[in-house]
């Protein structure tokens, strides 16, 4: 007997595998949604943690960038006697002679109050300080003016003042059209108000921000003339070239005060922000760990649902074998179903995580950053979990003998 040759195998087109697996999921919508939920929560948590941490760091990075990592702050440390030591008067000019230094500006202490007028209780404006400032202070600290102008060498000799943002706010001053304030019993004309150094978030405090935002600046000459202050600086801000920071840092104490270099404190204001960034990222690992646990549980959930599906859908498996499906076709169908289930959960998780990030970041006034590697990573994780979770159930489905599978349930 002869006959037309048979194909070596039946076939199951890739598009049909997809359609079949998809139909397996859409037939049981509630179960599909519930079993994908575990993956959604896990991936959502991970994307949100990465997104929020990245948005938060973006915020800090913006501030670090605004400040510049090449800014150094020199101040007098504690003297041997316990009292504040002062920096020598000539330290500014000494520092400016260091090669890589771009600009140097000093701020000096003035032990006087700043008041709106002579009837205000000084206690109401507590916490505000009066400082002398070099004309190039803003250049050195990357500061900007909200209104008006800064003290220059001419106005520095006259009773004019520039207010820090907090100072201006406390005194209720928003414009500079001839407004006067009382400093140490003398009337000073406000010629400028600085933008805040700390305008985005007050979680991070550096002495730099506090000092400058809460000060009223006057010229060195007028301070000396009216209040008999010394010309020795309290703090010196040093801007150097980026590449020479470490070198400058090491020679600064001896340059600022050759006699007592050990009493000179040199700090880098961006260090505090960088420390904050590092502190926040330690929490990231904790939450990423929790997200990973949720993913694991989600994966086990999918495996569980698929094992039950294989038992419940025995007849369907038998039918498909009777219609010509090979073992491999059945395996493919169930594996892809688990994969799609997991990817569905993963896509929902990415959207959820991105949504949470966008909501929270915009609530905090942060720049919204959703790291692409979190999205890609989340989806890859979903695929891997789906494949692992689907493997065993799919093999079981494929191993089921057609005669067994077709038995009435």
């Amino acid at each position: 007997m002869s006959a037309t040759p048979l194909p070596r195998s039946s076939s199951f087109r890739l598009s049909d595998v997809f359609a079949t697996s998809l139909s397996g999921l859409t037939t049981r919508k509630l179960r599909t949604a519930l079993s994908a939920l575990g993956i959604t929560i896990g991936i959502g948590a991970m994307v949100a943690v990465l997104g929020l941490s990245r948005s938060g760091s973006a915020e800090l990075e913006d501030r670090i960038a605004a400040l510049g990592t090449n800014l150094l702050q020199v101040s007098a440390g504690q003297g041997f006697g316990g009292g504040d030591a002062a920096l020598p008067e000539e330290s500014v000019s000494m520092i400016s002679r260091i090669g890589p230094v771009i600009s140097v500006a000093a701020v000096g202490a003035v032990d006087r109050d700043v008041l709106l007028n002579d009837v205000v209780n000084p206690a109401q404006t507590g916490g505000l300080t009066v400082k002398t400032a070099d004309p190039n202070l803003l250049e050195a600290v990357n500061g900007t003016l909200a209104v008006g102008r800064f003290i220059d060498s001419t106005t520095g000799a006259t009773p004019t003042t520039v207010l820090g943002s907090v100072t201006a706010e406390r005194l209720g001053i928003r414009s500079v059209d001839g407004t006067q304030v009382l400093i140490g019993g003398e009337w000073f004309t406000v010629v400028g108000i600085l933008s805040s150094f700390d305008d985005q978030s007050d979680e991070v405090e550096t002495p730099l921000f506090n000092d400058l935002d809460r000060a009223a600046f006057i010229g060195v000459d007028i301070a000396e003339q009216l209040f008999e202050t010394t010309r020795s600086p309290e703090t010196i801000y040093v801007r150097t070239t980026e590449s020479a920071i470490d070198d400058v840092l090491s020679v600064l104490p001896a340059t600022a005060d050759p006699e007592n270099p050990e009493e000179v404190e040199v700090t880098r204001p961006t260090d505090a922000l960088e420390a904050q960034e590092a502190a926040e990222s330690t929490f990231d690992n904790l939450f990423l760990g929790l997200g990973a646990v949720a993913l694991l549980v989600g994966g086990i959930g999918i495996a569980n649902v698929m094992v039950i599906a294989v038992i419940e859908r025995r007849n369907e498996i038998g039918l498909r074998r009777a219609l010509g499906a090979t073992r491999a076709h059945v395996r493919r169908q169930f594996l892809l179903e688990a994969l799609l289930l997991s990817v569905l959960g993963g896509v929902a998780g990415v959207l959820l995580g991105a949504g949470v990030t966008a909501f929270w970041a915009s609530n905090q006034g942060w720049r919204i950053v959703i790291p692409p590697e979190a999205i890609v990573g989340g989806l890859i994780a979903a695929v891997v979990i789906g494949a692992l979770a689907g493997l065993y159930p799919a093999m079981r489905a494929a191993r089921l003998a057609p005669t067994e599978a077709l038995r009435a349930s």
Partner: protein, 243 residues
């Protein structure tokens, strides 16, 4: 010999090949003692026949269904479907046999709940490598043949029992198989619906389909042109042999 002549010879040859031929088929299930469900069965079903394999439960007719449909391999003996010896084929090749040559109708219908009648019928061609569009065209034609042209977009839960079985029959026929195996096709249906399914089987047979109905229902069996009666794994009576 030209190609056309060769084709013609092939066609004449093929028409003489029986749809199904079993020779000395033994099926034993392991155990102690082993159970011999089929004990030396010889059966030939020609093309265009409508036959009943009938017997009480435990007579071996379910095993017959599985062996005839290549869902199970015989322990001994040979099974030919449309000339292809299938008893020793690999699982993969048997899948191809089922996809191309055999159609099944089950007592419980086994329709996919989430799919329309049209798509359920189209799954009869799902593993044949035909495009989805062509499968649907063929499915629509076949649904029309079983009288369900107006139920194409209904889902199984929107159909009556008789309509569901018609959908299942259409699914078995859509690939134009050499052999249709129907396992208790009226087992879940009331007597009136059973009659209409019976009539449909006759009609499809008259249009050329080779159909074997496996049943314990003597009444159904007697309504068919040929009865092959089983008892204890052996053919007790074959109406074709005696006539």
């Amino acid at each position: 010999m030209s190609a056309i002549q060769a084709d013609a010879t092939e066609a004449t040859k093929e028409s003489s090949i029986p749809a199904l031929q079993l020779r000395g088929v033994v099926k034993e299930y392991p155990g102690s003692p082993p159970v011999r469900a089929l004990n030396g069965v010889d059966l030939t079903v020609s093309r265009g026949e409508l036959a009943a394999v009938v017997g009480p439960s435990g007579s071996g007719k379910s095993t017959m269904l599985h062996v005839m449909g290549t869902l199970d391999r015989p322990t001994q003996g040979s099974v030919h479907i449309a000339g292809h010896e299938v008893s020793s084929l690999s699982d993969r090749r048997l899948s191809a046999v089922r996809s191309e040559l055999v159609g099944f109708v089950f007592q419980q219908f086994f329709l996919l709940d989430g799919e329309t009648a049209l798509d359920n019928v189209a799954t009869g061609l799902l593993y044949s490598g035909i495009s989805a569009r062509k499968r649907r065209v063929a499915a629509a034609e076949t649904l029309d043949r079983v009288g369900l042209a107006d139920r194409m977009t209904h889902r199984p839960n929107e159909l009556s029992g008789g309509e569901r079985q018609r959908v299942a029959i259409a699914r078995a026929l859509v690939a134009r198989p050499e052999l249709v195996l129907a396992d208790e096709p009226t087992g879940n249906l009331d007597s009136k619906t059973s009659e209409s399914i019976e009539a449909l089987l006759h009609e499809l047979n008259s249009e050329g389909a080779t159909i074997i109905v496996v049943t314990h229902d003597n009444e159904l069996a007697d309504s068919l042109p040929r009865q092959v009666r089983f008892r204890d794994g052996e053919i007790e009576f074959d109406s074709k042999e005696t006539s």
